[in-house]
Symmetry: C3
Subunit: 382 residues, 3 copies
Amino acid sequence: QKQERQIGDTTSIRTLIPESKQGLLKNVSMIANMNYAFRNEFVDGAYTQSRFKNEQFRLEIRGQVHEKVFFRFRDRYTRAQTSESLDNLSRSVDLAHIRVDINSRWSISAGKMCADWGAWEFDWNPIDIYEYSDIVEYADNFLSGVGFTYTPSAKNQWTFQILDSRTKTFEELYGTQPNYTASKAPLAFVSNWRGSLFDGKLKTIWSYSLFNEAQDLSGRSANMNYIALGNEFNFFPRFRFIYDFKWSDERLDRTGIVSQTIPDDLFPYSVSNTVYIGHWINLRYIVSQKVHLTFVGMLDIANWNNSFNDPENLTGEQNIRNAWGFIPAVEVYPWSNLNFRFFANWVGRVYDYSDYAQNRFGAQNSTTGRFTVGFITPLGIF
Amino acid sequence: QKQERQIGDTTSIRTLIPESKQGLLKNVSMIANMNYAFRNEFVDGAYTQSRFKNEQFRLEIRGQVHEKVFFRFRDRYTRAQTSESLDNLSRSVDLAHIRVDINSRWSISAGKMCADWGAWEFDWNPIDIYEYSDIVEYADNFLSGVGFTYTPSAKNQWTFQILDSRTKTFEELYGTQPNYTASKAPLAFVSNWRGSLFDGKLKTIWSYSLFNEAQDLSGRSANMNYIALGNEFNFFPRFRFIYDFKWSDERLDRTGIVSQTIPDDLFPYSVSNTVYIGHWINLRYIVSQKVHLTFVGMLDIANWNNSFNDPENLTGEQNIRNAWGFIPAVEVYPWSNLNFRFFANWVGRVYDYSDYAQNRFGAQNSTTGRFTVGFITPLGIF
Amino acid sequence: QKQERQIGDTTSIRTLIPESKQGLLKNVSMIANMNYAFRNEFVDGAYTQSRFKNEQFRLEIRGQVHEKVFFRFRDRYTRAQTSESLDNLSRSVDLAHIRVDINSRWSISAGKMCADWGAWEFDWNPIDIYEYSDIVEYADNFLSGVGFTYTPSAKNQWTFQILDSRTKTFEELYGTQPNYTASKAPLAFVSNWRGSLFDGKLKTIWSYSLFNEAQDLSGRSANMNYIALGNEFNFFPRFRFIYDFKWSDERLDRTGIVSQTIPDDLFPYSVSNTVYIGHWINLRYIVSQKVHLTFVGMLDIANWNNSFNDPENLTGEQNIRNAWGFIPAVEVYPWSNLNFRFFANWVGRVYDYSDYAQNRFGAQNSTTGRFTVGFITPLGIF
């Protein structure tokens, strides 16, 4: 018998595999999550460039690998493979976790996973998003930790997670902070309720998250609080409406849009006391099984509550910018037995800075747009 | 029912997979493309070093994933994983595309794919190449775009592709150009004819490509034109002869051999008006089913048509260098039911610079060689 | 018939796959090697931080792909993907090799593989190691080369390997050496005996390795010699005891602990004549099938035999540091049909520097510890 090195004692224990691998295989899938597009890009109304772009390419392996154990792994090929200083795993890896199903109601997950602070936008497969709203775009959405899920019925699901609050060190993320020191237990606590009300006519994903990131010099915690309230309305057979509300109160600017707007010669690190508020709507009208019309509208408001400390802030203005987005799209599903769609859309963004941000920080309003045609598919390889 | 996050709505549509995955699996393959060798290296006739080298290791997944959809993905583990500035995908990823078969004659491909500017050398699996000729070696062979293929019969196939002409930005590739500005639509247009004539005794891969990369200050396009004419002759049962002719006319030096020869203190960016001409022959003599003898000969000519502008170019010489290559090899196929061969070869290269390049740019003639033993296999994992 | 590019002539030869892929598949496995943990870390007795960490995540594909050919590939997602200067393959790739089984006694391996200089600690799957001893931790354990294995009976196995002695260039590894030049054939020669004596009550992994890395200015080889003697004792049904002895004599400091202790302003490159000695014991007490108690103890001694040349070394002290480790752990296996365990452990380390190292190099003694809970599994995906 030839023996390979560093194989581990799988033979003595794993009698499951050799006999029933055939059967087991049916429950494991490999998926190529693709969003591929030809983009025609505009800045401030002027055409700038055309190009083919692999918007998303994430290879995924998932499935039931044991009666009680589910496995999921997803890796992006649009980001460098690294070794992160806090959780050790590559930043290109979205997911690398197991889920143990204790019984039909309780399960435990461990590993790198989706932080469950979704409203609907974040809960979707990334390939379904033409452009993320600011708060989701700038967040660290895949974190290592442990999660507990309780599913008392098909109508309600409760999740509670304890996660690393970041993948990098405090200094890498926030710069050298003069007034804050890193937390010794930089954890995020996430709670989530998924409801299905009125026979599924209203579906919710509501979550509240607390990030314990740092303390100030007097020892008080400098936390981040995040609330997301996602609501899906299915009152008409062919029409779906979703409204997500997001509110992020950040003692240290984690989202970073405010800190990026402020020039480094003023504050070469993340500033304090920012608040981000997001509104996101999604409409889908099913013209026929093959043709759907969709529209996404979004508004992200970035405020700096500490701006009153700025002696040159004469008006007390706290708003830094409002970012608008609107994405009308046509989607065509050519096959009834494959989740595959061609799409054409317009992605319009308007970045509207406050007078304070313009005068004090030199921020400039701008618009971007792109007309895109492409395809989206979570392509099942096996 | 436990629900994972960011999974996408595959359940409602993809009825194909759960029922017939067993059958589907037969059409999907994973392949480890390996070229592994022990090299003994020589420079200018002197022995320099010996080492084991993973010449090629490209993992590939491909297959029919739906009645109408073919998928192919190939990633190298001999190159860093990145996120490219133009097409977003890692440079280590050769292929990440789908092919939709509209009918038996027409198909459309979209994603990152082989640019179809082959003659025979480029059309082969990279593991079959002991050393690429200059023009192929320095080209960006895997690009994102869309392709159309028309196959009227087994004797002819026509392909037309529109591709990003590069994966990086103009500045990353050509340096800061004083006389050219980047094209807003940096696309490559590729047309290709594959023919099988005289009962397959003559097989052709002929292509013409146009790259739209830049314009000069007066607004005229600065294109690259590339012609490759590949011809395979099978007039004898045990003997195959291939001749590839390649001709690349580059308004901006894309191949880069000329620009690399010119020191940066003269021109710290890619120069104008280069022409590369390649001749490549391949002979294979099948001694027996288990033993093959092969020989590759190649000559790549690098010319700088703009050299007359150089006031110190007194002779009007345009040639910069001629690079010769000759690779005799013995290949042994131990098994009739596995595409696996051991090989031993000699890879000889002669780099012969013109008097102009030697005197003006300090270029020096050199030869390299290596005696190599190893194995080649596109190993089917499943 | 649609033909993809760069596919290679697999169709004409590989008749094996289409017909018997179903059967073949049973012999190929994909494994997610995971060691995932929540760590509470201490330095010099003081609590420093808590975090979830993906200690190990290595995806593996292995199996019999042909009657005579075995394939194995393993890649880590906790390290950047690179292209190494010597063997070309990414450093994140542990394994990428084939094994050809000539007959029941002889086999040949080629590719990137485990250097077979194991004693028991190194021979295990990395997920089974809570913390490596110094000599193994600092070694380059995965190298490209070729290996021969002779297995006359179930009681004895002999392996001989010829490997690249490193994956990087001499300068990258050792710095600019004033007194040594790189070997032209930087190879490692590894011989290994695995024995099973007294009905398996004593199992051995004994190895001797010679690294040919450099020569000094007078032309004499500057080799590294490494001996590892692993001994596993199974005299009681519920109790296993292992003792590994390691001894590494390095003309040029490959392990590097001594060179790292010496400040760069003294010697900004790897020093000469270091010796590392390692003792490692492992105890396992099987309380029940589901509960195991384990203990690891280790001592790594780092000596600098050249220290007598240091005029400020008045005592002739050669010892630089002794590093102790002790790891008590509880392991719980919840399922009898899956190799999966939860664990809780304490990983204690003591770094004890000699008076010479403290006074001359400013080295400081320290202790680290962590209390960890997590899980370990070589999870079979298919």
